[in-house]
């Protein structure tokens, strides 16, 4: 295994690893534009130049494989390298427009960060620009992306992404020299369902997100690491929020799950959580809002079944969009308080949707983030599911029903499922629904209890690979909505006189203990916790809480 020294620090790497990869692992910051760990290396930007002992010329760290005994100096320790890198920066800045006040990339811009760096930045321009090269600006390439070709530094990350990752090759450079311009043919709208990643990839403000445009300055955002709850992939992401509103989602790099990408649907999944039709108070079927203590009392009255014979058990259905912790408490409630019960998570036979909602990259047909979690917790041990429940209800065997339901964050609920739920609630005389939104197909519920949506509660989801991932709390739920675990703990207390802990670590410890597949997992060190955002712009950090405490 080759051993390399970078700026005096040693590291052993696998054969074929490049200098920049070794440096990144050591924490030595080598500046770069075109290198991206999930794209093929190109070496066109020349920012990652380093000095290698014994080599006549400076080389690019991103495309030079490490050899054993190599000694490398970055711009931080080599004056010659610093001068070269400063030259590259100067060339780029000559024709770069002074757009910082109006550019969304400010605060997380590689050009800004590199220019402000004391080792290779802060030069005074030697070129008196009389005729700056001007290019086209503010070109909308579809609903996700705005292109400003004047800001482009021609790193080609977007070109490589569009060609290799999406397979569409919608972006390309035209012309030569300092006239090079990034274009989409005839400014056509990008058809790429992963177009949102282009804004993350672009190290400057050439490709920016339309959804986030001018919304907020990035230094006013607080960051919370979490995972997407749009489908069973569970792409690792970071929630950027301010003043209790989610402003955008950006992917975190987890090679085992999602590389550095997230699909556009998942990227916009926060819109449903921010949505206007949130349920914020416990609601009776007549439309009357009640306070929580009354809500819990009503729940107790509705669900108390005197069914000693077991012919009309409590029907319990928890959607696979609930966290493992919520599912655990839900299961406890149903199994401990109701000797006769049926427990399930399956809403429908969705496998016929594989082709329509899945692709070769990240999107999966199952738009529930925790199907495997529900499965591992034994939610489908008996034959059942929504269709069976509906059958029982049609036969008059539904007396009491408890439903923990979250509408999908990607797309709408499937019409047959919505119809089945509506019919079930219509037929069942005593029903308690724990949900996040006021949904028309849940109107038949006798009692609706408002619960927190994704990003408003802490918990874990088990993705389709069986990997348990941590989902964090970023914002507070609206009105009187509470975390599902808290509501279920209240109900457990009402029915069994014992209130379990709702602390996430405690619940996870129980999960780790109960589920064979989770044995040995450490809650604080789940793999998804380790992923971080790449490219690492915004080195001028203002702390994890964002710049302003507001």
């Amino acid at each position: 295994m080759p051993l390399v020294t970078v700026d005096g620090q040693q590291i052993e790497v696998e054969p074929g690893a490049t200098i920049i990869q070794a440096a990144d692992r050591l924490g030595v910051e080598i500046p770069r534009f075109c290198y991206h760990p999930d794209l093929r290396p190109e070496g066109n930007c020349r920012m990652c130049l380093v000095q290698v002992e014994g080599f006549a010329r400076l080389v690019v760290a991103c495309a030079t494989p490490v050899t054993d005994g190599m000694v490398v100096s970055s711009p931080h320790t080599s004056a010659e390298t610093a001068e070269a890198v400063q030259g590259v920066l100067e060339f780029l800045l000559i024709n770069h427009p002074l757009d910082c006040p109006i550019c969304d990339q400010a605060g997380e811009c590689s050009l800004q960060d590199f220019y402000m760096h004391p080792d290779y930045g802060l030069h005074t321009s030697q070129v008196d620009v009389v005729e700056k090269v001007r290019k086209r600006k503010r070109i909308e390439l579809g609903p996700r992306i705005v292109l400003d070709s004047e800001r482009c530094v021609m790193c080609s990350r977007c070109v490589r992404f569009s060609a290799d990752i999406s397979g569409l090759a919608e972006l390309q450079f035209i012309h030569r020299g300092n006239r090079v311009e990034l274009i989409a043919f005839e400014d056509r709208a990008l058809e790429d369902p992963y177009a949102g990643n282009l804004a993350d990839l672009c190290p400057v403000g050439a490709l920016t997100s339309r959804d986030f445009r001018f919304r907020r300055r990035v230094w006013h955002l607080a960051h919370t690491d979490s995972v997407c709850a749009g489908c069973s992939t569970g792409c690792n992401l970071r929630i950027d929020h301010a003043e209790n509103r989610i402003e955008r989602l950006v992917p975190r790099r987890n090679p085992a799950v999602n590389s550095s990408w997230i699909c556009d649907e998942g990227r916009l999944s926060y819109l449903r959580a921010n949505g206007p039709d949130r349920l914020s108070q416990p609601l009776l079927s007549g439309g009357e809002e009640v306070a929580w203590p009354d809500g819990i009392r009503h729940a107790q009255e509705l669900l108390a079944t005197d069914d000693a014979s077991g012919t009309r058990p409590l029907l319990a259905l928890a959607s696979a969009s609930a966290t493992n912790e919520s599912l655990l408490l839900f299961k406890h409630l149903v199994t401990r308080a109701f000797p006769h019960h049926r427990l399930d998570f399956r809403l429908s036979q969705e496998t016929d949707l594989v082709g329509a909602r899945q692709d070769h990259l990240l999107r999966r047909w199952d738009k529930h983030p925790n199907t495997m979690g529900a499965f591992y917790l034994g939610f489908s041990e008996q034959p059942g599911g929504l269709d069976d429940y509906l059958q029982a209800a049609e036969a008059g065997d539904c007396v009491a029903l408890v439903l923990l339901y979250y509408p999908p964050l990607v797309g709408d609920e499937l019409p047959p499922v919505a119809a089945a739920l509506a019919r079930l609630l219509e037929l069942c005389p005593h029903s308690v629904v724990l949900t996040t939104h006021r949904l028309p197909y849940l109107k038949g519920a006798s009692l609706s209890l408002p619960v927190a949506a994704w990003a408003e509660e802490e918990g874990t989801y088990t993705n389709y690979q069986g990997t348990v991932q941590h989902s964090a709390k970023a914002t507070e739920p609206p009105g009187a909505a509470r975390e599902a675990t808290a509501v279920l703990a209240d109900l457990l207390h009402t029915f069994t006189n014992h209130r379990p802990s709702t602390a996430p670590e405690v619940l996870f410890a129980e999960l780790e203990h109960t589920v064979a597949a989770y044995r040995g997992l450490d809650y604080q060190h789940l793999p998804s916790r380790l992923a971080s955002v790449y490219p690492p712009e915004g080195r001028m950090h203002y702390g994890e809480e964002g710049f302003s405490g507001r």
Partner: protein, 157 residues
Amino acid sequence: MRRLSDRALAEIETARREEDSARHALLTALRVVQEERRQVGPDEVVQIAALLSLSPATVEGVARFYDQISEEATGRQVLSLCRGISCQLCGADPLAREVLDNLGIEDGGRTQDGSLTVRLVECIGNCDQAPTGMLDTAFVGPLTSTVLSELLTRWRR
């Protein structure tokens, strides 16, 4: 959209079959279309892209790299005036200015009747005839005011 001629389509198809990859056939395709249509504009890009199973953006990226492949239609004849260092030292700039003013066009522009395009190009390697140029594929030089006006008179006829 004006379809490419059958002859052009056949030539491109041959290139596609013979080359290792579609990208290698792309240069041939661009040359064929430029010769036939005197331009490779959006219409042509779309057709070439379809023939070679490449994205239009990819085709445009290669097409716009070369000055000889033009986006706008060029004249039936192209007068290229060299602006290399030898030619400049021999007075190429004022000559070029004179020609362009006479015709009333800018560098790269086409005369109104569409018959002639004049463009300033980098060194064409004919320095011993400086100031020099090319009329289509034939060198012309050494150029003087007289030679040029003769050329243009002949061309006008």
